[in-house]
Amino acid sequence: MNQNNMLAMILAGGRGSRLHDLTNKVAKPAVSYGGKYRIVDFPLSNCANSGIDVVGVLTQYESVLLNSYVAAGRRWGLDAKDSGVYVLPPREKADANLDVYRGTADAISQNIDFIDTYSPEYILVLSGDHIYKMNYAKMLAEHKANNADATIAVIEVPFKEASRFGIMNTDEEGHIIEFEEKPANPKSNLASMGIYIFNWKPLRKLLVADMKNPDSNHDFGKDIIPQLLADHKILYAYKFKGYWKDVGTIDSLWEANMDLLDTNNELDLNDPTWKIYTEDATTLPHYIGPGASIKRAFVTQGCIIEGEVKNSVLFTGVEIGEGAKIIDSVLMPGVKVEAGAVVQRALVADGVKIGKEAVVGSADSEHIELVAKRVKGVE
């Protein structure tokens, strides 16, 4: 809190049900990405790199793994004095019943007491399930320069996709004049990234009122932002340029991994000035055997590769047996592919074993095949 008087709250309660079996046991922010990361490493590392020292993580759906994962704040360097990552699942309070978080705004409302202990001037609200690198300090500087009540980060999306997003209509100065949730005929292509900076005191008032409103969805996009606009508050759009991905489906999660294989890929995880921090795995570097072949691949420590890997992303501790072929695929941590097996256009979930000479996925499938259970091979 010392650094910029801004506290961050990460919304990490969602299931991400279109990720099917990947989120049966873990919430979407805890899903693995990019060889060695979990999605929530991105907002957390962004906070650490932006000089934010107090981060609350709002968890709800299948939160056991996520709670223990984010609580180890030192992974992101968020463990100095007066700094920390705080896990905030719904809790029972003296004056209220135990209640789940009813919406994104309600999750913040139910933790007003937590935020008040830091009495921040600004509050940054983030999604725990987006992949991007962003300096929130720059956004705050703009928020202050504009004397805004709220600033919302936006990204230009292709017009034909704009109706899938919450769209901000702005004037020439970036002043938000209208917000439309998934408009059929979008007037602008500035999509909300779900990243908000608010002045805490006025937001607090609004949240207290919203909690009591029976007609509210208790949602930032549906209720709080329209309310601010109706009250003629000053809302600015902060234009973000760069890689940003909301991985809602198996196809898009696969795609986001594949993006890393491009020469000069936009996310640039190799940038030493903006590292993404994650759990430190105690494993060997990766081993490549005498019969292996690796082309266009993203490979992390702990892998043992004896077969062929092409156009694929291999996560921590993946083992590829002799003569096995991995093509256009994403193999999550601990996946073992035995000798002679072929994996093509597939996303293989954590720890799944693919038996000897088994064949998984196909080159011309429309969708990426999700492999979440053991595949038996030739005995």
Partner: protein
Amino acid sequence: MKALGIVNFSGNHIWVKGLEEYRPIGAFSFLGRYRVIDFPISNMSNSGIDRIQVYVRRKPRSLVEHLGTGRHYNINSKRGRLHILFSESKGDNDLYNTDIAAFSANLECIERSHNPYVVIAPSYMVYSADFNALLENHVQSEADITLLYHSVDNAKEAFLNCNTLNLNRQKGVLSLEQNRGNAKNRNIFMDTYIMKKDLFIELIKKAKNLSSMYTLTDIVNNACEELDVRGIPHRGYFASITDLESFYNANMDLIDFKRATSLFDTEWPVYTRTNDSCPTQYFETAEVKSSVVSNGCLIEGTLENSVIGRGCIIKKGAVVRNSVILPGVTIGPDVTIDCQVVDKNAKIIHAKEIISEPSNPGYIRREDTI
């Protein structure tokens, strides 16, 4: 029953050309992502030793940076402690700069330890060993000092800077002497000692009185006549990093995954400091076989039988064979290297071919551009 862990530095009879100019052997990069000192400290940590003293004789920067608070070695952050201690030699002659001198200078830190035993391991040897089991064995045997050794059959051409143990049939140590390369079967002393802390302190004081140039090995050799000094054989992987060839060979040996499993065991992790590098990216033109590659690399060229450190760039058309590449190195387009040890952050761009023999690997200096 617990022991104080002491990680000792290499004596002044050992010199690894090139690499040691910049840092002590313990701080050498090893097998891509490790430093040599990670092995003794991880052995101690895994054995439940949580009070560890690391002695530094010279060039501390790189070692101190790597060790930090020691948190990454999984030592309890309140009860445990990794303590870095410096020898305080005046530097008039390096011969005075012995381990005994360093222990004497820090004697109060050793005396203050509540642990009744000491386990002393070198920062320049790579092996895995359960010190807790060795300590139990030591206590049961009622020996005064237990020394760890490794029997080898290539002592004529390797381990030439190491000491050997002359043992009687009951594994009693008769004497210690330098390996002069005149016999192929030898018991190489792993510079690892277990004894009571009080005896250790006594030996330090005795050695200091006898000669200012005495080392711990010297005084233990002297003590063989009066004390019960015993050897315990070590099995599994063992490498002594005491010259450039042994550094090169130890890395090369571990490219073979089966061989590596004799050193690395998931139940006995080797800890190191994370660098938060992203995974390694292989491009369309990459050709990689029989290699060990760390994170954060960009690989467009050919790798064969090599160890690649963190954050290396291997450009298109580059060929790296039988080499050990330390972190942050760039191998430029169409450069071929064979049997080289390339030190940290070097750039090989202009020289198109650097080839040596496996028996005499080449060395490329740190931060050098050639």
